[in-house]
């Protein structure tokens, strides 16, 4: 187990920065999620930590040791690729034993460890099969077993669930997190799926265009976004952003905090005139689409709530003052938060 840290880490491809001066440190045994839109540099960052991509600038530390220029094999890490990268010509057993062979462990020890890893992931039944004879979920577990078997200091996982169908993904998410909790190995997990990130991460690092926008617990990221990017990247539908004529700032609030104004709502509520022009019924919840002034705004209710706003009408809606976040209209940075959520 170890802490992973990157300092001022950059990677440029043909002069274009894929990773742009990132500072980030995990804590020991943490499940750290890298979340961001496609092409923001998540994979590149992970590959640099794994030693597969030489950084253009900056340093990588694993367990306090600078490993920037060490080859992957000297880093004591395990990585699971999006494709699982199982060795197609080897049986499941040999796939899992592969890192042990590389470490020149005695045969008996290899057998013991493979049995142990296969047991944890429930794949003892098909150790003799070739990867192509396995389902997607089974392949994923073989890849995890192979990562686990040498008891690495760090797990690097690059969208390991993206090849699974939606149902299988939910249970795999559960298994993966349970598994990480059991072995307690520091894990860096890349995804562009916010549900995965929110559900699994101890902390989430939100990335955009090679930079980290915010690092924090799922609560912090969702409730106290550091800027408008984070605010609108998380949540579906995302946070509403309404320009405030008085201050010139952007006011942000979550759709679920946007409810009809009632007499008796006191001073801690802020009132907006809301023009609704469409409604969507999604089974568990209902969405209203409309505008506050010129800006689009969405309201969200449980499907069984008895809100009765007519389409085409303009009514007063309100947000609790505490749920209003203020952002700078140009930089998008959060104004009402002392730290701005950025890592030093």
């Amino acid at each position: 187990m170890a802490v992973v840290e990157v300092r001022e880490l950059s990677k440029r491809f043909d002069g274009v920065a894929a990773v742009d001066g990132i500072d980030l440190a995990s804590t020991d045994g943490e499940f750290l999620v890298l979340l961001g839109p496609s092409g923001c540099g998540k994979t590149t960052l992970l590959r640099m930590i794994g030693g597969l991509e030489p950084p253009t600038d900056g340093d990588i530390l694993i367990g306090g040791r600078v490993v920037t220029n060490l080859p992957p094999r000297a880093r004591q890490i395990a990585m699971v690729f999006q494709s699982y990268a199982l060795y197609p010509h080897m049986t499941v057993y040999n796939n899992i034993a592969f890192p042990l062979k590389a470490a020149k462990l005695p045969k008996a020890e290899q057998t013991r460890r493979v049995a142990w890893a296969a047991g944890i992931l429930g794949i003892e039944g098909f150790l003799d099969r070739k990867p192509r004879q396995l389902s997607g979920g089974q392949r994923q577990r073989v890849a995890l077993a192979r990562a686990l078997v040498r008891e690495p200091t760090v797990f690097l996982l690059d969208e390991p669930l993206s090849n699974l169908d939606a149902q299988r993904r939910a249970s795999a998410r559960d298994e993966l997190q349970g598994f990480q909790r059991r072995v307690g190995t520091t894990t860096i997990y890349v995804t562009h799926d916010q549900v995965e990130a929110m559900g699994m991460g101890d902390r989430i690092a939100v990335m955009e265009q090679g930079r980290i926008r915010q690092v924090g617990t799922p609560h912090e990221i969702y409730d106290e976004p550091a800027d408008t990017f984070v605010a609108t990247f998380l949540g579906s539908p995302p946070m509403n952003l309404i320009p405030d004529a008085a201050s010139g700032e952007l006011l942000g609030f979550r759709p679920e905090h946007f409810i009809p104004w009632e007499a008796g709502m006191g001073n801690d509520w802020v009132r907006f005139p809301y023009h609704v022009h469409r409604t969507e019924y999604l089974g568990a919840e209902r969405l209203l689409y409309g505008e506050v002034g010129e800006a689009k705004a969405v309201a969200r209710f449980p499907a069984n709530s008895d809100i009765n706003t007519e389409i085409g009408s303009t009514t007063d809606y309100a947000v609790r003052r505490n749920d209003l976040k203020r952002f700078h209209p140009e930089t998008g940075l959060r104004l009402d938060r002392p730290t701005n959520g950025r890592q030093p």
């Binding site: 094999r73 990268a85 010509h89 890192p99």
Partner: protein, 329 residues
């Protein structure tokens, strides 16, 4: 009752049992549109028709395949037939050419081994071919690997350029190459061929292997590096084992190219005991306008049969090798 029919009936029973179970459960009250019809006669008729259609398709397939097999085998059969014929039988136009009118003889084969240096030719061919295969592998594997992993258009372009070299005809190239061979003091030895043949096997095989290596995901190699090997170690343990079909194709292909190469062999080697089969047989068994037909055929058959067997052994992988190279190259 045939085996298939029995199995079909059994299947039918299982279906019925399952449908019964479904019907019993309250969740599904109505049989769907796909519910089986309990008309055994209609079922039987349908089954028989399907069976007839299947047999007909098979029949057409076999007839066509047989025709092409015979067509392809004909020259080979003719060759074998000729090997065992006596002169009088072969050259008399009034005799039935596909029958042995005189008793078959082994004389043509013994002539080959006793009166010519056929054994030496065969040995030279084998030695040259094995050495050429080795040189080709040593040259083409690293070249193809680095070219296929080169980023951008460069690798592709270079690969194609290398392949173009293969297309320059030996009838032109032997002129400059003869200087090289002479300067290296290899004139009139089979070492000249070991030197020269890789000039066409390596380009072709490099191009072939490039297609192969490109189809192998980088992930596997990188995973092997993460798992504790150096890049070379990773290539050795992942890329090479996975490209065995490609490597086999390269081996068989450069072997075959070497065996039937003629121009260079003719240009660089003159003394009998340095010759390979392709050139030795044609120069020693055609004397002026006298063709030793039976021995020529015997010489060809003796090398063709082992090669044919070898090809057959690896046929599946060989085809995989070529199609893969073709698609991804």
């Amino acid at each position: 009752m045939t085996e298939t029919a029995r199995r079909l009936q059994e299947d039918d029973k299982t279906t019925r049992r399952q449908v019964g179970a479904t019907l019993a459960s309250p969740a599904v009250a109505m049989p769907g549109p796909n519910a089986p019809v309990w008309d055994d006669a209609a079922n039987e008729r349908e089954r028989r028709q399907a069976r007839i259609r299947q047999v007909a398709t098979r029949g057409v397939l076999y007839v066509t395949a047989t025709f092409f097999a015979l067509f392809a085998a004909l020259p080979f059969a003719w060759m074998i037939l000729t090997v065992f014929k006596q002169n009088t039988d072969l050259y008399d136009p009034n005799r039935n050419p596909v029958l042995f009118n005189d008793p078959p003889t082994l004389g043509n084969i013994t002539f080959l081994f006793e009166r010519t240096e056929y054994a030496t030719f065969a040995r030279n061919t084998l030695v040259v071919a094995v050495l050429v295969v080795l040189v080709t592998l040593i040259g083409a594997v690293p070249a193809a690997y680095s070219l296929s992993r080169l980023a951008g258009r460069w690798g592709e372009g270079l690969g194609i350029a290398i392949f173009l070299v293969y297309l320059v005809p030996p009838t032109l190239l032997f002129i400059p190459l003869s200087r090289v061979v002479a300067d290296l003091g290899l004139r009139n030895t089979w070492w000249a061929m070991v030197l020269v043949y890789p000039t066409f096997t390596i380009p072709f095989c490099t191009w072939l292997l490039m297609g192969f290596f490109k189809s192998i995901p980088r992930d596997i190699e990188e995973q092997a590096m993460i798992d504790g090997y150096s890049r070379l170690g990773a290539i050795w343990r992942t890329v090479l084992p996975v490209s065995v079909p490609g490597l086999l194709t390269v081996v068989v292909f450069s072997f075959a190219l070497t065996m039937h190469e003629f121009v260079y062999a003719l240009a660089f080697v003159t003394s009998s005991h340095q010759k390979t089969i392709s050139i030795g047989v044609t120069t020693e068994l055609i004397r002026g306008d006298v063709f030793f037909w039976q021995s020529l055929m015997a010489a060809a058959a003796i090398v063709a049969i082992p090669i044919a067997l070898l090809y057959n052994l690896f046929l599946d992988r060989f085809i995989a090798g070529f199609t893969l190279g073709a698609v991804k190259g």
